[in-house]
């Protein structure tokens, strides 16, 4: 890994994607609702399950972006 991908202080600008992910995952009023349902499952449940997949994709993006 070279310096421009992850500096000596351990920070990369790509990590801002994680900050966005945290904000969405923790902003409860955003998803604390029943509608729209998916296959009969309330939004509260399926949205958070989908967010796990989005989190994995975001992590993969940051991985490839910061890998040399």
């Amino acid at each position: 890994m070279t310096e421009n991908q992850q500096g000596r202080n351990g920070w990369s600008w790509w990590y801002l994607l994680f900050v966005g992910l945290f904000f969405v995952a923790l902003w409860v009023p955003l998803y604390n609702r029943v509608e729209p349902t998916l296959l009969g499952m309330p939004f509260f449940y399926w949205f958070q399950l989908v967010l796990i997949l989005i989190g994995a994709v975001v992590t993969a993006i940051v991985y490839f972006a910061t890998e040399a």
Partner: protein, 507 residues
């Protein structure tokens, strides 16, 4: 309850298989098991795939698979905090833990205590980190055995002897094979768990008439989080702080650190941060089983009355499986949960043994052990730790194990400033960190006891009541104390010892 013979035979056969696997694992990726890093870290030889199974098998424990659906069954939507919690942990792992892996690889650190000792040159701070790790792990092991007890009870087998047998098996293969045993068994366990979860989430809703039907059976008060009213952040704040606090605590547990350090490279750790969410998805789906159990009405069925009387809501998932699956598949599903208890219990006992051996025995009793003595000591300690957990489960009410486990989370998070911030900066004064740790432990314990061992405490800030996870509140206090005292002690010209250099932390 009658013995379910078909399920019991399948269960015993699968247990026999993993017992054999646990012993032959000693010869897997062969190394000299008389060296501590070979016995206790598998020689740091596990690539991306094995690490995935190992950490997944380690973090997503039997107790998790029983307790999270049980919480959904009993309390409803709030149980889903486990989902944002697992969404947060992997980016944290991605950012911080390759640094811990690299510095540990360079200096042959095996535990978080080793790292803190090297980084701060303060044996008392390292001792605090070590003791916190061991004490927080003990009730965690006990809870794994509780998970095992619930499924054995579900098979209709009475008495404590099956638990003792499982314990002896666990102790024997951990002693002979070290971390290679749970790593090999984790592959079997996770395959069974994925199979069970997939079948449960597809077959049971069909059986119960679809998700729409299941969720319509759940009362409105449990279906969503109650919106805050008046001058309170209500259950929203609870949900958020539980997610953040649990995420901060998880990777400080010794078994997480051990799992991570056994990876063959920092790249394997980073790749796993993107791959491990597969387990989170499974956990999220399994949490829904609590609602399935509710909709199926298992709690009111006479054949499960004894199970619910003994194990309370923790019996929801076993009862649902007994109700929904043919006997042979109940055997598979229960074996998945039972083996799921042994993998983390093995890793936890190894991690505690590594801590005791490296950071207590070597530091305070025998400063120059031979490699063989060191590894032998760890093997003995792993037995003692497991024996302690067994005694706890057999003779102390399960409620105390749960309360201890709760306190364990509040204690382990207090090591966050020293360990995680320590990966980035040597700015903190070591004594300031130690005093911050004391303040965090004392205030966390006191606040938890004050609310009769509930995880949340209601702070009052400017007329607002803010109920939230005690661990998060107290680690913030700990951090504030450490910062303030670092300022003061810095002015006193405190010495700074550091074995590591900045280049140790990145590739």
């Amino acid at each position: 309850m009658d013995v379910n013979w078909v399920a019991l035979v399948i269960f015993v056969l699968l247990f026999g298989f993993i017992t054999w696997l646990g012993f032959v694992a000693a010869r897997w990726r062969k190394g000299d098991l008389d060296l501590l890093h070979e016995w206790g870290l598998g020689g740091r030889r596990f690539g991306t795939a094995v690490t995935w199974f190992l950490i997944g098998g380690d973090l997503y424990t039997a107790y998790t698979f029983v307790a999270v659906p049980a919480l959904a069954f009993g309390a409803g939507a709030v149980a889903f905090f486990a989902v944002p919690y697992t969404i947060i942990i992997y980016p944290l792992m991605f950012m911080a833990f390759p640094r811990l892996w690299r510095v540990s690889h360079r200096h042959n650190y095996i535990t978080a205590g080793d790292f803190v000792k090297g980084r701060y040159g303060n044996r008392w701070l390292a001792l605090a980190i070590t003791v916190t790790g061991i004490i927080a792990t003990m009730p965690y092991i006990a809870l794994q055995l509780v998970g095992l007890q619930v499924v054995i009870g579900g098979l209709g087998v009475a008495g404590d002897w099956p638990l003792v047998v499982a314990f002896v098996i666990l102790a024997a293969f951990t002693y002979t094979s070290g971390l290679r045993a749970p790593a090999a068994i984790a592959i079997v366990k996770d395959t069974l768990i994925y199979l069970t979860a997939f079948v449960a989430v597809v077959a049971i809703p069909i059986h119960l008439g679809g998700f729409g039907h299941i969720f319509s059976a759940v009362p409105a008060a449990k279906l969503l989080l109650a919106a805050p009213t008046g001058n309170s952040t209500g259950v929203y704040g609870v949900y958020i702080t539980l997610a953040i606090g649990s995420a901060m605590a998880l990777f400080l547990y010794p078994h997480s650190v051990t799992g991570m350090l056994s990876a063959s490279s920092a790249h394997a750790v980073r790749r796993n941060a993107a791959l491990l969410p597969a387990y989170s998805l499974m956990l999220g789906l399994l949490a829904l089983l609590g609602f399935f159990a509710f909709a199926a009405g298992v709690a009111k069925m006479p054949q499960f009355a004894a199970g619910f009387a003994q194990y309370k809501a923790n019996f929801a998932v076993p009862a649902l499986f007994l109700y929904s699956f043919p006997s042979w598949f109940v055997g598979v599903a229960f074996a998945a949960i039972g083996i799921g208890a042994l993998v983390p219990a093995a890793i936890m006992s190894i991690a505690s043994a590594n801590l005791y051996t490296r950071n207590i025995h070597r530091e305070f009793f025998n400063r120059n052990p031979t490699d063989k003595q060191e590894a032998q000591m760890a093997k003995w300690v792993s037995l003692v730790v497991k024996l302690g957990a067994l005694v706890f489960v057999l003779f102390v009410p399960a409620q105390y194990a749960i309360q201890f486990q709760l306190l364990g989370g509040i204690w382990i998070i207090q090591t966050f400033p020293a360990v995680i911030f320590g990966l980035y900066t040597r700015w903190f004064n070591d004594w300031a960190l130690l005093i911050g740790w004391v303040v965090g432990i004392v205030s966390g314990t006191w606040m938890t006891a004050a609310v009769q061992f509930k995880p949340t405490y209601s702070l009052v800030i400017a007329g607002w009541s803010v109920p939230g996870y005690t661990a998060l509140y107290t680690v913030i206090l700990n951090f504030a104390v450490a910062v303030a005292l670092t300022w003061i002690f810095g002015g006193l010209g405190a010495a700074r010892r550091d074995q590591t250099v900045p280049a140790d932390y990145h590739a």
